[in-house]
Structures are given as structure tokens and as C-alpha cells.
């Protein structure tokens, strides 16, 4: 596989997002600031605390995200989706996300990799029960970076609910963002008996060439 330097870097960033940068046990979730009711919950809501490097809130951004099976209908191979999978905001923006769950099952809108001194476990998390709409607010840091946004229910990210929040210039696209970037491991969509077909074409190439050579020699 040939990868540009940028892609390699993004890939490792991606791995870090997935496996390393967050370290809080779920059983300790009472350390998060969590507000919730029957309709769902918001974890680490933050209206006022500025990230380091932000002198003030640079602006307000309202994002409305609808989620559910119907947003995957037009995406081959996806089962769950969101109304969009990429969001661009300026550094130090206060972002209010309204997450509308149009399915009859739970869904989540979870950002990873935020600074841990503001957001325990580095995450901002909205969870909405089926048919519910939940809003939450957080302030993005000052550096240009791409943040993974996903639903962490088993297989929901893998089956389409995988997006990216691009702050400022961003730091390079993440892999497998639905409808935006390719999966890092793309499945094979080749016919079953490709070996026979390949052999036939190989033979065709061989006989065509030898026929041409012979024609030329005759001339």
C-alpha cells in the first residue's frame, strides 16, 4: 500500500484516537459532569471554561445533527448514519450540538481527544434515547486539529456513525469518515473465480503478442 506522508501521520493519529489518549474507567463515570434524564444525557457540558490558548470565545456555532438508519440509506454498506459526518469550526468556538435521534434505539455523538484538564477522559458526549433530541455545549481548543466523532455503541461507528470535527485548518483527514474518506481496510469486491479469468487474459496476451511478432517477422 502506498501512503503519502500525510496519510501515514493521519493513520497514526487515528490509532491514537482509538486506543491511547483516553484513560478513565467507565466505573468512575461519576467523575464526569453528567446531566441526564429519561431522554438521554450530556457528559462534560462546558459553557464557560476556556481551553488553554484561547483568550476568549471566538464565536458561537450551532450544529444540528440528525442520526439514524435513514441517514445510511444512500451510503452503500452503511447501516447507521448522521445527517452529516464532517463539521468545520474555528478555534475557540463555543459549539452547541443538538442531537436528534430519529431511530427507536439509542445513539451517541461523542467527540474524542479534547484536553483532559477540561473534559474528563478527553471527551464530550451526547447520548439520546430513541426518538429523543438532546443538546449540549462545549468549547473547542485553540489548535488546528481533526477530532473523531462517533457513536460508541457496538458496531455503530463501524457501520457508519463515524465523523470528524475539523477545528480551524484541521490536522489531516481521519480514515473511514463516512462519505468523506475511505476505510483503511477496504473489503474485496472481486469476483470469486478471478484466478481463471486472469489466466484466460494472460493466455490471450501471450498468444496475441506471439501472433503480432510472427506477423512482423513474415513482413
Amino acid at each position: 500500500m502506498i501512503m503519502s506522508n500525510k496519510k501515514v501521520w493521519v493513520f497514526f493519529l487515528n490509532l491514537i484516537f482509538m486506543h491511547q489518549s483516553y484513560g478513565l474507567q467507565h466505573s468512575m463515570s461519576n467523575h464526569h459532569s453528567m446531566s441526564g434524564d429519561h431522554g438521554g444525557m450530556v457528559m462534560n457540558d462546558n459553557h464557560d471554561n476556556l481551553p488553554l490558548g484561547c483568550e476568549r470565545i471566538s464565536g458561537e456555532e450551532s450544529i444540528t445533527v440528525s442520526a439514524g438508519q435513514q441517514y445510511a440509506k444512500d451510503i452503500p454498506g452503511a447501516i447507521y448514519g448522521m445527517s452529516q459526518h464532517e463539521w468545520n469550526v474555528d478555534p475557540c468556538t463555543r459549539v452547541t450540538v443538538t442531537f436528534i435521534n430519529e431511530d427507536e434505539v439509542r445513539h451517541q455523538w461523542m467527540v474524542h481527544g479534547l484536553p483532559k484538564y477540561l473534559y474528563p477522559a478527553g471527551m464530550f458526549h451526547i447520548e439520546a434515547m430513541g426518538g429523543m433530541s438532546i443538546a449540549g455545549t462545549f468549547i473547542v481548543p485553540s489548535e488546528n486539529r481533526n477530532y473523531l466523532v462517533h457513536c460508541d455503541m457496538a458496531q455503530h461507528m463501524e457501520m457508519g456513525m463515524r465523523g470528524q470535527l475539523v477545528v480551524g485548518e484541521g490536522s489531516g483527514d481521519l480514515w473511514a469518515v463516512t462519505g468523506v474518506t475511505d476505510p483503511f481496510y477496504r473489503a474485496s469486491y472481486l469476483p470469486d473465480n478471478l484466478i481463471y479469468l486472469s489466466l484466460v487474459v494472460l493466455f490471450l496476451g501471450y498468444s496475441l503478442t506471439s501472433w503480432l511478432v510472427r506477423m512482423r517477422q513474415k513482413r
Partner: protein, 563 residues
């Protein structure tokens, strides 16, 4: 000139033949020739057989992780009495309390510690005025364990049935809030997401709703096997969970509520009925227990991962000291791997439902309460105490039969498929044949009379069909667990066994077939031998000379053709 060249070829041909003859291993000479040679020269000189390879130390997990949260001890949470659970790993007592009171009635702190959503188990009114709630609303989700990912070749939301063994699995799961994994540093599924699907307990006559919220990427249903339920519900909706007869399957992102008010008590079963030959074997099945109606009968509505019931019912406590749910399930690795090979649901569907042929299939993994030995020793021990009596509710959810066998005890079958057997049929036995999906209720008594038990100890219980005691053919593994007297458990809940060390069984390498099986107590004696390097060298030389022999033949052939 030509003839001279040919002569030279003959000479080369002879030399290569001679070389082949010299390096040809003498142990491969024809039998009669070897006999003749032996009569002339006697046996060949002694040459030591290859040495044993020293097995490098492999990483072993801790057999019994400690319990810093104090979950094992008996405790009272929100007024609910929760029995002690002595083996190493115990169920979360806060979940147990929430299952008893209902997630709508439990304190906020308990609910948070249980990890459940507030609508996971909703308990309503006491309809018959006997002191316990009779309106019960249970919610189930569908969770994939050890599935695939578009960015990683390793399984995600992992669940090990044995050290390093991660077959693809589907389960019904309680409705939990938050992430599916334990924390951000790992892909390990959170503690309450496990195989098998939870045992569900309701009371005879309860007005029960079970809502299946299909959080998975394939269609599913819920079929209440053996439990008294209507084919359609009061609103005319299909209620049997069978796509062939009663209703369409529940699509991803959708939900459906099943209704029942069972008139009969007994140990029943629930499972998905969509493409059941695949979906049931993937793990979409659980025990469905209907307890007899009693006053103040507050049931533990779910028992996660089956096993010991930490808050047993009134009806149970009348006749028994403890209760265990035993869920047996076998798994086919060739089926489970199909959710790991691809991340496209269309390809997964094709692979599981068209390419996979169950009539050619065999099973490889044998689980009891979702784990194989040695993990069964962490969480699925039956703890005995002299003079006491336990009730076992056993289901064989696997695709093959099970010869359930207990060491040191003879048990009595009291019910089969949720129906009481006449007293005259209740005789002690120590092997019980269980067909697929069959349930048996067993009395296991710890009265030391030479029949019910032969006394306190560490007594195994397992499927006596030999393959059931292996993990993909490697023993000990499979569904082996033990009935252990309290006096034989150490502080941490680990049985004080007197035989072999368990260290190598807690190493993934053992089940990857990399460790000689008796290495722990007789190191290197039965280890893998080194390769016979001398013989190998001679074979390679033989091939080399044979090659040159062929080349000479060819060049002679070409020479002839020219002349």
C-alpha cells in the same frame, strides 16, 4: 567431437547418480535390503535423537484478579439483600439491586453505578396486592462482540471466552448507558456486555413487556420458547417473533414490544428467530425463567452472564439455599469469524447466510455461562456448603447434545422443559443427556451420604462428551467448571487445587497450541523435539544432485537431437 561430448555427459551422469546414492538416507532403503545389510554389518551406530526444545516462558494472566470494588461480599443496596458471590469475579451488586427494584425505583447513585439506563427495567403496579410489582417492562439491545472495523484488523468490542480466544458473537444485552467498551485505552467490552445473553426472571401472572431495541446491523426478533404467550398481542400485532408465521423482523434502528402474562411457571428459553440456524448459534439466546407466584416475591429480573442468582426469589428460598443458572453454548469458529473478515454488512450477510453451510459445520468452542475453562473457574463455580441444597437451571443452547456430568455428586432432575416430573421419576443420577434447547431443573444437594455427595472437595462438572472439555481441540478447556466446598476456596475465591499449576492455562499461547501440554510439571520432558538437521541436510543434498542429474539428462537429449 559430438561423441566425445556425449561421453563426457555419461561421466557426469554417473557422478551425479553416485552422489545421489551416497547421500540417500539409509533408513529409507527397501526393507529387504536393510535386512541384508544388517546381516552383514549389524545395526548402525547410536546417534542421539534430537534434543527437546526449551519452551520460552509465556505471559500468563493473573488467574484471579482481585476485587477492589468489594463486589463479591454480601451487601444491602437500597434495601435489597444481595448474597455473597465467592468466586473471583462477581456480578455488579448495583446492577443486581437495580434488577430487583427496577431501574425506575432505584436510587440515582445505584442506577449510575449499575450502568443501566433509567428505562432498562421498569417495574410498575402491584396488581394482585401481594407486595411485589406485577407490571414489568424489560428492554433488550443487540450487541456484537469481537466484530470487525474499517480501520483495524483486530476485533473490536472484544470478549475473550478463554485466554486469547475471541470468536465473533452476538448477544442480547441489558440497556446500558454510555460506551460499549470498558474505557478509552482498550477495545475490551464493558463488564456487563457478555456472553450469554442475560437470564430473565419474571413471576407467573406478571404483566410483562419485553421491548427489543435492535441496535445491531441485521434484522432480529425475540421468540419466547416454552413461555406462555399469545401468537398475537391484544392490539393484533405479531407476538411470537417468528418471521415465517407471525411478523416481520425488527430492522436496525427499530424496536418492538412483546407481551405476555404467563399462566405457568418453569425454566424456559428465549432466542432470535430470524435465520435461527445462524442467529441462535451466534449467541442470541438466553434463559427465560418464570417463577411461581408468591407474596413479596421481588425477583432479580436479569442475571447478567447467567451463573449464581445473587438475589433469589421468595419461591426459591422456600426450598433451596442457592440458585444457579447454567447456560451451555457451543460455537463454530468458522461461523464466528465471518463477522471479523469483512466490515460491509452486505458481505457479512452473504458470508453468514449463503456461503456458510451449517450442514457441513462442526463446533469448536464449548462455553458455560459464556466462558471456557479456565475462565469458568473465575466466575462459574458452584459453591457448596455441607448440608445445603442448590437449584440448578440448566439449558443447552448449543447445536449439539450435552452429557452433563457431575463429579462427587448425584443430582436429581425435578423439571424438564419447565414441567415438573413425577416424584417416582426423580432418581439421583450423575450423567444427563440434554438435547439442543432443552432445559432441566436439577436439585444438587450437599448432604454427605455417599449418593448426594461423597463429601466436601473440588469436584468438576462438565459435558462428558470428550470434545466438550476442549477449546478447539486443546484440553483442558471447554465447559469444565467445578462444585467447590467453601472450605476449599482461598480469600480471593480461587479453589485451592492440589494438582497441576494453572499458569499455562491462563496463557493465550497454550490455546494457540504453542506450549507443550505437560510443560508445567515435567518441563521439557515431553517438549517438542528439535528437527533432525543431519537428515534434513542429506535430503537437500539429494535434491541438489537430483537436479543436476536432470539437467545433464536434458542437455544429452538436446545433443542427440542436434546430431
Amino acid at each position: 567431437m559430438q561423441i566425445k561430448k556425449l561421453k563426457k555427459h555419461y561421466l557426469l551422469l554417473f557422478i551425479s547418480l553416485l552422489a545421489m546414492f551416497l547421500v540417500f538416507p539409509s533408513q529409507w532403503y527397501p526393507f529387504d535390503m536393510r535386512l541384508t545389510l544388517t546381516s552383514w554389518f549389524g545395526a548402525e551406530n547410536y546417534r542421539a535423537l534430537p534434543q527437546s526444545i526449551i519452551t520460552p516462558d509465556s505471559q500468563s494472566e493473573l488467574a484471579c484478579p482481585n476485587d477492589p470494588s468489594g463486589w463479591r461480599a454480601s451487601q444491602i443496596i437500597d434495601g435489597v439483600n444481595i448474597d455473597e458471590s465467592l468466586p473471583c469475579l462477581a456480578d455488579n451488586p448495583y446492577s443486581v439491586a437495580a434488577f430487583v427494584l427496577g431501574t425506575n425505583n432505584v436510587s440515582k447513585e445505584t442506577l449510575q453505578r449499575s450502568g443501566l439506563t433509567s428505562d432498562a427495567i421498569v417495574k410498575g403496579r402491584d396488581l394482585d396486592g401481594d407486595g411485589d410489582p406485577d407490571e414489568i417492562h424489560i428492554r433488550l439491545e443487540v450487541v456484537e462482540l469481537n466484530g470487525s472495523s474499517p480501520i483495524s484488523k483486530r476485533p473490536v468490542t472484544t470478549y475473550d471466552i478463554a485466554p486469547g480466544v475471541q470468536p465473533g458473537i452476538w448477544v442480547f444485552a441489558p440497556k446500558l448507558i454510555g460506551m460499549a467498551v470498558e474505557n478509552f485505552e482498550t477495545q475490551e467490552a464493558r463488564y456487563s456486555l457478555k456472553l450469554p445473553s442475560p437470564s430473565i426472571r419474571i413471576e407467573q401472572g406478571d404483566v410483562v413487556k419485553v421491548t427489543l431495541e435492535n441496535t445491531h446491523y441485521m434484522p432480529h426478533t425475540l421468540h419466547l420458547h416454552g413461555a406462555d404467550h399469545g401468537f398475537i398481542d391484544s392490539t393484533g400485532e405479531g407476538n411470537d417473533g417468528v418471521p415465517l408465521t407471525s411478523e416481520l423482523p425488527i430492522l436496525p434502528g427499530q424496536s418492538r414490544t412483546y407481551n405476555l402474562t404467563p399462566r405457568k411457571a418453569g425454566t424456559m428459553f428465549y432466542h432470535c428467530h430470524v435465520q435461527p440456524h445462524v442467529h441462535v448459534q451466534m449467541g442470541l439466546q438466553g434463559l427465560f425463567i418464570i417463577e411461581e407466584n408468591r407474596p413479596n416475591n421481588n425477583l432479580q429480573t436479569m442475571n447478567l452472564g447467567a451463573g449464581k442468582v445473587r438475589a433469589p426469589s421468595q419461591s426459591l428460598k422456600e426450598s433451596y439455599d442457592s440458585e444457579y443458572d447454567l447456560h451451555y453454548l457451543d460455537l463454530d469458529k468458522e461461523l464466528g469469524v465471518r463477522i471479523q473478515e469483512n466490515n460491509d454488512p452486505r458481505l457479512i450477510t452473504q458470508s453468514m447466510h449463503r456461503d456458510y453451510d451449517i450442514t457441513d459445520a462442526n463446533v469448536d468452542f464449548f462455553t458455560l455461562n459464556g466462558r471456557s475453562f479456565p475462565y469458568t473457574f473465575r466466575e462459574s463455580l458452584i459453591v457448596s456448603h455441607e448440608g445445603e441444597k442448590a437449584k440448578l437451571r440448566v439449558v443447552n443452547g448449543g447445536s449439539k447434545g450435552i452429557a452433563f456430568h457431575t463429579h462427587g455428586h448425584k443430582f436429581t432432575v425435578t423439571e424438564r422443559d419447565g414441567v415438573k416430573l413425577p416424584k417416582s421419576n426423580q432418581t439421583p443420577q450423575d450423567v444427563l443427556w440434554m438435547a439442543t434447547s432443552q432445559r432441566y431443573d436439577l436439585d444438587l444437594s450437599f448432604v454427605n451420604d455417599g449418593t448426594q455427595t461423597y463429601g466436601p472437595g473440588i469436584w468438576l462438572f462438565h459435558d462428558h462428551q470428550n470434545k466438550g472439555t476442549t477449546t478447539d481441540g486443546i484440553g483442558p478447556g471447554g465447559n469444565i467448571s467445578a462444585i467447590v466446598d467453601k472450605g476449599y476456596l482461598d480469600e480471593s475465591g480461587w479453589p485451592m487445587t492440589r494438582g497441576v499449576s494453572y499458569a499455562q492455562y491462563f496463557s493465550a499461547d497454550y490455546y494457540k497450541k504453542k506450549i507443550p501440554i505437560w510443560e508445567s510439571y515435567i518441563p521439557s520432558f515431553y517438549a517438542e523435539p528439535e528437527k533432525d538437521s543431519i537428515l534434513l541436510f542429506r535430503i537437500l543434498l539429494l535434491m541438489l544432485f537430483f537436479g543436476s542429474f536432470l539437467a545433464i539428462l536434458r542437455s544429452m537429449f538436446l545433443q542427440r537431437k542436434k546430431t
